[in-house]
């Protein structure tokens, strides 16, 4: 079983850069992979893909609604389109296009969304979407994936090409701890990743917050508390088996995510636990508020998405056991 001490920080890299490498590899493996963008090829690190596969790159201009429909049409033609833009413009701006032309129509479109959450930073709340996981997980048939670091975002970008059906792949802008397997061998869509085994408490996290969960577990270990750390990179379909197995053992759960509490990972976890295994649960998430301008770390601190806050919530959950 994996132990906390097994987790090694490799380096710091942007998850969006992992996406750029991943789509390039997916394009090499499968000639049906097409990259679309809405004037954000640079931000999504598409340069190498565009250079190697110019005929399979579709520039849509600043017109995300049309991009979603074009992707659906490409899917009808048997292609595997990846739409790329910021998470806000990948979801809330084009929700009805995704709902009708992609989800309801069952199209094999990969919606790839960078700059999600508060860690987008200085651009402020207009761009810091914190509702996207909720919106996307509500759509019937939509798979929602939130990888935790560069290596895993690369692995996910490759894996979704072989996965039939619409997918929402969410990642971020800043340089962040990179610690999962370089070859992506520890990633499987729909399968929770057990990062560290523990006895007293389960910390279930996704995205950037997974690394903070690891650090929180280290702090808790120093206090003599054994925390299990699970990277729930696939929000939907949720790996209920892994969640219930961990909760049955530790009887106490904390979730952590860079998203509104309403509609996020924590809510999905709460639903499963309430229905199948009522368990004390605390959540680290944004509390019904918009973000603002600031550095990523300042914003995470101000909105309570920190390792310290995970520890506070862990102790609160433990007290409810």
């Amino acid at each position: 079983m994996p132990q906390l001490s097994d987790i090694k920080l490799l380096n710091e890299k942007e998850t969006r850069a992992g996406f750029g490498e991943g789509i390039l590899e997916a394009g090499r493996r499968n000639p049906r992979v097409i990259a679309l963008t809405a004037d954000l090829a640079g931000s999504l690190k598409l340069g190498p893909f565009m250079k190697e596969f110019p005929e399979r790159f579709v520039q849509c201009g600043i017109a995300e609604a049309n991009m979603m429909g074009v992707a659906a049409g490409l899917a009808i033609g048997g292609k595997i389109p990846y739409t790329t833009t910021f998470a806000n413009f990948s979801t809330s701006r084009v929700y009805d296009q995704i709902r009708q032309s992609i989800a309801y129509s069952g199209k094999n479109v990969k919606i790839c969304a960078s700059h999600a959450g508060l860690t987008l930073g200085e651009d402020g709340a207009t761009h810091q979407v914190l509702e996207d996981i909720g919106m996307m997980k509500m759509l019937p048939g939509m798979t929602v994936i939130v990888p935790c670091d560069f290596n895993q975002t690369k692995a996910a970008a490759i894996a979704i090409a072989d996965y039939q059906g619409p997918v929402y792949l969410r990642f971020g802008r800043p340089k962040w701890a990179n610690f999962t397997a370089e070859d992506g061998s520890d990633f499987q869509i729909g399968k929770a990743q057990l990062l560290a085994e523990g006895r007293d408490l389960s910390i279930i996290a996704c995205g950037h917050l997974v690394w903070l969960a690891v650090q929180a577990a280290q702090i808790l270990a120093e206090k003599g508390i054994s925390a299990e750390v699970i990277n729930m990179h696939t929000i939907k379909p949720l790996d209920e088996e892994a969640l219930l197995k961990s909760a049955a053992k530790t009887r106490c759960v904390v979730t952590a995510e860079e998203h509104q509490q309403n509609g996020g990972l924590g809510e999905s976890v709460a639903g499963v636990l309430a229905r199948k295994l009522p368990t004390p649960l605390e959540m680290v998430a944004v509390q019904d508020s918009f973000g603002e301008s600031g550095t990523p770390l300042q914003l995470l601190a101000k909105y309570g998405l920190t390792k310290e806050q995970i520890v506070v919530k862990a102790e609160a959950a433990l007290a409810r056991k």
């Binding site: 005929e55 609604a65 074009v70 490409l74 899917a75």
Partner: protein
């Protein structure tokens, strides 16, 4: 198919439309009747397509997208009568457990439908994507799409219109049903979209105009646009139609955009429409 036969068939399609909407006591007869000649020409004379087995990708086939999904009755009628599914299934239109949903969808697996439409303004984008896919596959068949004139009030269309010209999608033929009517009244009063010719020309499309209720003109125009394809520009046909065409009391008014005839009105309508083959 002979023009006279196409005309008779369009009459049969119109019978299907009023009977379906009457049976469901809901649906959109006006636009469906207005587009009956065009849809009949497309499915029985112009497009190369394979009803059985239906293939989503449509390789080597001409592909059609209905963007104004509320005129599903005319779409379902031509699909059934060209062999995509049994004509008897038209009786299930808008009923529970039906593949013939109020607005077309792939969700129930109805052959011939490639994407859901109903929420307006999305079909041209999908048509653009399918047009790119055909180009990538060196497939020289065409993409046809149909849109309402009122539907062009949706901004996404103009994103797609820019996109198609920029990417030189000269295998795309979009037809606009210019009947000048929408739910709240004449299009010119609700939100004027004219001049469509000037607008599409300015967006660098090849523009054709035709009377969509004169079969000879519909056939001639559709044959002409096939010749015009492949010249670097997307093609639009501004198709003037009369909403409710073929049923005297439904003609030319937005009142019949989305309501169903009662029993007496159905009887009157069927008296005016030739029985070409047989009713479902």
């Amino acid at each position: 198919m002979e023009i006279s036969e196409l005309k008779r068939l369009a009459g049969q399609v119109r019978r299907d439309i009023v009977r379906m909407v009457h049976a469901a006591q809901s649906g959109h007869p006006g636009g469906s009747l207005g587009c009956a000649d065009f849809m009949t020409a497309l499915y029985f004379h112009i497009m190369k397509h394979q009803p059985k087995p239906f293939k989503m990708e449509g390789r080597g086939e001409d592909i059609f997208f209905l963007s104004n999904g509320h005129i599903s009755p005319v779409f379902y009628s031509v699909l059934a009568r060209s062999g995509y599914f049994p004509v008897s299934e038209l009786a299930s239109f808008r009923k529970i457990n039906s593949r013939l949903q109020g607005h077309p969808t792939t969700h129930e697996g109805l052959p011939g439908v490639r994407i859901a439409s109903g929420s307006l303004g999305q079909g041209m984008s999908a048509a653009c994507g399918a047009a790119i896919a055909k180009k990538l596959d060196n497939d020289e068949r065409l993409i046809f799409s149909l849109h309402g004139d009122g539907e062009l009030q949706e901004g996404q269309n103009w994103e797609a219109i820019l996109f198609a010209a920029h990417h030189r999608l000269d295998n795309l033929v979009a037809t606009i049903d210019v009947n000048g009517q929408q739910i709240d009244g004449p299009t010119g009063l609700v939100m004027n979209v004219e001049s469509l010719n000037a607008k599409f020309s300015a967006f660098n499309w090849l523009v054709y105009e035709m009377d969509g209720n004169v079969m000879e003109e519909v056939i001639a125009t559709l044959e002409a646009v096939r010749e015009a394809a492949g010249q670097g520009k997307p093609i639009v046909i501004l198709m003037r139609t009369v909403m409710g065409k073929g049923v005297s009391f439904m003609e030319g008014t937005h009142e019949w955009h989305g309501i169903a005839p009662n029993d007496a009105q159905l009887e009157q309508a069927l008296k005016e429409l030739d029985l070409a083959t047989e009713d479902y």
